[in-house]
Symmetry: C2
Subunit: 351 residues, 2 copies
DNA sequence: TGTGTTCTCGTAAACGTTTACGGAAAATGT
DNA sequence: ACATTTTCCGTAAACGTTTACGAGAACACA
């Protein structure tokens, strides 16, 4: 009954309003606004002034329709499966960087969320087919990733946070150096006298789990330590998963004196399981986690972890995505860039 | 050089393709697709089949342009000021609920991020004026909120997470009962023998800070305890703010034996300051925080806190927003709903 | 003066939809 | 058989842009 006032004032004026106000044609107004050459410097100025005065800003739908581009980029955010109450703090700083860079180029960021757990394939199709965005950004890439297959098959522009075996090298990607982090963690633990080092990583076929394990195994072998399958375990990528899988390696005949977690949530669950059998991280066992979150810092004991520069990564991936799209790239055409960034170790009390 | 394949296959077919394929007019196709009455049941079926076969989905820009509605809702997400590395886990489950409900009505959720710290007024104008969304959702409402003033002045539909003095009762809002939480915290502490209870809340004029303080003061008076201004302090809403402001109340001539924090990040900073002067939460001083996050649970000692049902809140606010917009509400017209939800106390080890 | 060039602008079509309008065909009523 | 209603569908305009095309005016050059 109340909210009828939508129409009480024209929120935005159209290009027609400007034309009428200035007594010129809409074509000229559009050209002036878009900075084309074939318009008199004086009339351009008058158009610009009128636009400011009448508070004009172009209708995105009209523009998108005509140009065939939406001027927005979609990020597919998938909430942590199994964690209803509190989700994924990881991506916020990344998104901050992403949107900051996109905004500089006049692009909007659309965050498309899926229900926790579903693999967002349909949602992705919807974004692509309804032309909601000009490109998408994917995260949490799988080793074989059907989203990547789909996008490269239909030729829709995209970039990924994380590598994948799918889709070849045809799209920009930015990833962290999980191999090196895995190796560094092993090096550090070995230097501190550990020989029995467990590795706990997420199931599903999240690609970073493989990369991490590679680095872990290679480093072990470099130190002349045999890889013991009994010390490697996969679990669901949340606290419960870490809790369930921890006993598995602790019950091996020759238990580990150190453990590397490939995920913070799993580390928390693992530590809970350890506490229940009276084993204290940083005292009875060394713990390192590969991707740091605030949780690691505030946990007791504070967990030694590798920290990613998330905000710069967001900026950079946006940059790379833009460079890969001909319409957005400068005159130099499209470039496909791949980068792998190092992780920085933050030494704390758990190892 | 590569990424030229954008055009190798028409990603989506238009309504014209369907019409040509079926040898009927586009008008009929559109009517069939939109479920209008004046189309033969048989032809409708043929249109639907063809749509599925040709993988048709409507172009959003065209539809928006014609209908004057974008079918998307914008959420203005403002990263926590001062916290670059890790942002705002608080909103993720809220967003999950929000988007889930919107998706049920066929609406998209656009998350618009601002740079940390800026008050997003321009960004809001841009969203409104370029017609990127049909409505917006605001969070972290201020006591007097210029965003709300702006939106209600121009008559743009919106809803808020949190109350405000601005804008009257003309928009839907969903808030937590911070007054009751403040009072409950005091009751609990008094029952445990405390009489000197400090309150630390964010500066800026975030409205929940006022509500909390109201509840705190009233409860104190109810117990016959005089409110001591020396035990109340405002700080910047992040860890550093809590760290800086904590000594202020501890140095009062009659220091507190308990402290209530109105924000988790500030609580963390406050506890750090306490640790540095050898005071241990849960042992030497009681600590309660009003809004729980995962950080409270993993902190040592685990912090007693009030937990909001964020995901249901997101769903509900979406529902309320939809009901307030005539175009989306059912036949019953627009209703403006206001709700205040209780916070649940999670007793842990810090009090 | 005549010809060619450059500036500037108006006209109109197009992007993909939705929908008001009217008309032909079919169904119904007398 | 005729009048009336109903059913179904095509036509065309509209939403707000952008842009190809062409035309008129001004200018330069011989």
């Amino acid at each position: 009954m109340i909210a009828k006032k939508q129409e009480n004032r024209p929120l935005a004026s159209s290009i027609h309003d400007l034309a009428r106000h200035l007594n010129i044609s809409i074509g000229t107004v559009s050209r002036a606004l878009n900075g084309r050459a074939d318009v008199n410097a004086d009339t351009r100025q008058r158009v610009l002034d009128a636009a400011k005065k009448l508070n004009y800003s172009p209708n995105q739908s009209g523009r998108s329709l005509r140009r065939g581009a939406t001027h927005s980029i979609a990020f597919m955010l998938q909430p942590h499966p199994g964690d209803q109450q509190y989700g994924e703090p990881f991506f916020i700083p990344f998104l901050t960087g992403l949107q900051a860079r996109l905004a500089e180029s006049g692009l909007d960021l659309i965050v498309v969320m899926g229900a926790p757990g579903d693999y967002q394939q349909e949602r992705l199709r919807r974004v692509v087919e309804t032309r909601r965005a000009d490109a998408v950004v994917l995260a949490w890439t799988r080793r074989e990733d059907e989203r990547i297959d789909y996008l490269s098959e239909v030729g829709f522009p995209f970039a990924t946070l994380g590598r994948s075996l799918s889709g070849g090298k045809s799209y920009p990607s930015l990833d962290l150096d999980f191999e090196k982090a895995g190796a560094d963690a092993v090096d550090r633990l070995v230097a501190r006298g550990h020989r029995r080092i467990a590795a706990i990583r997420p199931s599903l076929n999240l690609n970073f789990g493989y990369l991490f394990l590679d680095g872990y195994c290679k480093a072990l072998q470099r130190h002349g330590i045999e890889v013991d399958p009994g010390l490697i375990a996969d679990g669901f990528i949340n606290e419960a998963g870490g809790y369930e899988v921890m006993p598995q390696v602790m019950n091996s005949k020759d238990p580990p004196t150190a453990v590397i977690f490939n995920n913070d949530a799993m580390a928390l669950g693992g530590c809970k399981a350890l506490a229940e059998i009276g084993i204290k991280p940083g005292h009875d066992i060394a713990v390192i986690v590969i991707v740091d979150t605030p949780l690691c810092r505030y946990f007791s004991p504070a967990l030694t972890a590798f920290r990613p520069p998330l905000e710069p990564m967001g900026r950079r991936l946006a940059e790379m995505l833009l460079a890969s799209i001909p319409a957005y790239a400068g005159t130099d055409g499209a470039r496909i860039i791949h980068e792998v960034w190092p992780l920085e170790l933050i030494a704390r009390d758990s190892d």
